[in-house]
Subunit: 284 residues, 2 copies
Amino acid sequence: MRYDVAIIGSGPAGLEAAITLKIRKKNIILFGKKDSSAKVRLAEKIDNYLGIPAVSGSELADRMLDHAKRMGVEINDTKVSMIYPYGEYFALQCGEEMIESSSVILCAGVAPAKTIPGETDYLGRGVSYCATCDAAIYKEKKTIVVSYSKDYEEEALFLRKYASEVIYIPMYDATGLSLENITVQAAKPLEIKGRMKANTLVTDSGELSFDGLFVLRDQIAPSSLVPGLETEGSAVKCERNMSTNIPGLFAAGDITGEPFQLVKAAGEGLTAAFSAVKYLASKG
Amino acid sequence: MRYDVAIIGSGPAGLEAAITLKIRKKNIILFGKKDSSAKVRLAEKIDNYLGIPAVSGSELADRMLDHAKRMGVEINDTKVSMIYPYGEYFALQCGEEMIESSSVILCAGVAPAKTIPGETDYLGRGVSYCATCDAAIYKEKKTIVVSYSKDYEEEALFLRKYASEVIYIPMYDATGLSLENITVQAAKPLEIKGRMKANTLVTDSGELSFDGLFVLRDQIAPSSLVPGLETEGSAVKCERNMSTNIPGLFAAGDITGEPFQLVKAAGEGLTAAFSAVKYLASKG
């Protein structure tokens, strides 16, 4: 089965795109956090979302989710680690599964300010963004997990079922953390090195060798998520109709650059949805 | 006194720009209808304004106006008939008054599909968009008013105090209309002709000669409203930050083109406001 539109992100841009496409009776799949974006939820008070004065981020997130739910939108919280543009359609790596979609709207939020030097160069050559996808490749091998969130501890434990060794480097406060049969190590990654394939992680407390390195964070740099996607600085480069340099791929919200504001994100989500509908119609 | 930002239009784009600029403590003036845009108010049911599900246009307009009012936004319902970009600042013709503003955000709604042939060519040379502004010029002269709304009957009566003759051509259902000392005539304007100045209105029921012709409609074509403003079709040409070809002039909402949707308009209003703030800062 091929979806009409895959939406990546459940912040205001993704939710607005989803309800707009539901109204247009498109067959969609929405990937994101079930409680919307953390950035929305954690805002103390929002004064500039026209029509809903003086609201807390958490209440506004609830209202947006409630609206989406009423329109029949469901949120799939599987992480999308790679999007392959195949011309006629897109293939999305979702955990261990691949799904297909005729078009994609990227609303994954503001891109990470910086990656580890060497990270994007060695992606697919010893470096991976998804332990659940690639664990089997590293059977009886030595692996390192650089993790930016507590949420990825599960993924490291899953990896350990295959890999003979997992060194887990938490990039968050993980005082007292212990993971079964895993070495939890405090260190600051400085560079990923290697030859044809990456094999060494340079840290502030020495070098670590590996067969496979996993970098697990919520946001993946757009150009790593979609090979060939054009960016301007860290933002995805878009036209006013939210199209990108890849036909059928649209972007909306913080991922397209400033201003990082909810109503701007929602507006772009709508525009991207309209453009996706037009794109689908043009393909017949 | 010079305003920081003059906003033209009180639909979602104008109101969102206004609250955003209030938060940034800018000195603004907002021109528009006191009950927001007719287009919003007349919508039967709106399903895609994220966070406010299944709402009537009239209720949504009330919520937006209430939000703006809470933030201290006031609506001035004087019609702006001309905006002159003077480089350092803008001069706005508002009824009989001129006001000054350092920047402008144009949110005047979707531009009229078509003008009367010859209308824009003779603007300022026998053709005017504002009877209250230019009435005095036509003292003891022969005038014609082509009016697209009942709201302009007052303006025709005002004009009659100066002009020796006023022929009023209503472009709306005006069955039984009579205006004191004014000839109300049913006719369809086909072309405005003349030499250096316009002097003849060709209609489907013959030619009418005049000294001054007034075309009164709610929406003025953007390029007539602001001399030198670049358009694409009937829409104002914008960059992604909502800047136009005129420095300090930004646009947002339906006037920038499709999709003609509320949340898209609000999002652009926010972006235009942020860009205006940046522009003001750059001028020091």
